[in-house]
Symmetry: C2
Subunit: 246 residues, 2 copies
């Protein structure tokens, strides 16, 4: 029978103890935790409390529950994506890390731009833009969802190619030079929709990379954002003294 320590709630005492066990290697990655019933006996608490403790671990991304099978310790391996060099092929970027990457295009259509987009691409309210939605997978697992808006003149010319491959490399190959990219990086929680698409729990951390790309004449031509699974992706950047802008 376990008792509450330092006025910490029981479920937290239990989840912290299990957490320590995971980090100490007691339960290795991929291994199964004791079942709810076993934990109830081991700690002398009700099922709800055990479940709450496990929920705490799930929320911290440490374990994963599988119905009918059990609770398993998650393996943690991330893939790194370079922000400094958006022109590199995503495939190549991944291959170097021993991973295979692929893209599944969800949609590619002409739409009236949302306010934030017409702002960023300096469009008139009557203009339309191409909107491409795609899923990015590594080793068959979805890691990110990307929504890109492309100016009509560009999208028209290359629409065929844009649908099957990444945008930066496609433009580069066709002689459209991106001179500058303004990017933001932030964090959000997975909504119900995103948690289903990316196969992660509700509210799980997502990395959001927003971007606007400009050509030589400071003309914005594409913008959009990539929502990546926080447990699978790391961005890297190299900053040199020369380019301390703004």
């Amino acid at each position: 029978m376990i008792t509450t320590e330092n006025s910490l709630p029981l479920h937290l005492v239990i989840s912290e103890r299990l957490r320590d066990d995971i980090f100490s290697g007691q339960y290795a990655a991929g291994e199964q935790l004791p079942s709810e019933h076993q934990l109830m006996e081991q700690f002398g608490v009700s099922r709800i409390t055990v479940r709450r403790a496990i929920a705490n671990l799930v929320q911290q991304g440490l374990v994963e529950a599988q119905r009918g099978r059990g609770v398993f310790v998650k393996a943690q391996h991330k893939v790194t994506r370079s922000l400094s060099n958006p022109l590199i092929f995503f495939d190549e970027d991944m291959e170097r890390q021993g991973t295979t990457a692929s893209i599944r295009s969800l949609s590619f259509e002409l739409v009236p731009p949302p306010l934030a987009v017409s702002d960023r691409l300096k469009l008139k309210t009557t203009d339309q833009v191409y909107c491409q939605k795609k899923v990015i997978l590594t080793d068959g697992i979805p890691v990110a969802i990307d929504i890109t808006y492309i100016r009509v003149d560009i999208g028209q010319t290359f629409s065929q190619e844009l649908q099957s491959s990444l945008i930066y490399p496609t433009l580069d190959k066709n002689g459209v030079s991106i001179e500058r990219v303004e990017a933001t990086l932030e964090c959000t929680h997975a909504t119900v929709e995103l948690s289903e698409a990316l196969e992660i729990p509700l509210g799980a951390p997502l990395l959001v990379n927003g971007y606007t790309a400009f050509t030589e004449h400071n003309q914005p031509i594409i913008c959009g954002e990539t929502l990546s699974r926080g447990d699978r992706l790391t961005y890297s950047v190299v900053l040199t003294k020369g380019n301390s802008v703004l």
Copy 2:
């Protein structure tokens, strides 16, 4: 009495409905949601189910529960921090956004370097490093925790100044030039410890900015990481064609 739709669990149906109400402006930021008791009646479900629905909203960062008071819709306003220009004073960066920033130093001590640190700073195993831990606050609210490791030779010279202010500006003022910074950006979940320190729920998204700074001779002198509240901070970067390195 509500019934489960499309085989979606009840708690999700309820939290999604409340979510829609929040986005439609039915419940504005800062406003109070109906109490658990009211929601039980309104949807004709048990308290546990209502609580689960609210937990879903908390997990998505949409609402905040306050014991003895009620559940309130969270206001969403983020502060932007420039990555491209780490030399700018954090204070100035914030002031421009109408926010006041401050730092609370937690510790500043000489320690044997963790493996990752001696690697990054190219230290011998016998070397020691200064380790500075600090909390960064905006408007009195903690938004980030930073742990920085500084080579002994640098730390010794400026130890007084380093304790009270940010590192990049201090070094810059004293003629130590940072030529290059290698940074990574990723996401994690708040642990129990961090969730208490940053006043956020367990498992909430955190932005992790890891960095290693180099002087002119490609000599790494400081490294560390900043863990920021995902709901409060956005990083921005401007990438120009010249500096596509690696």
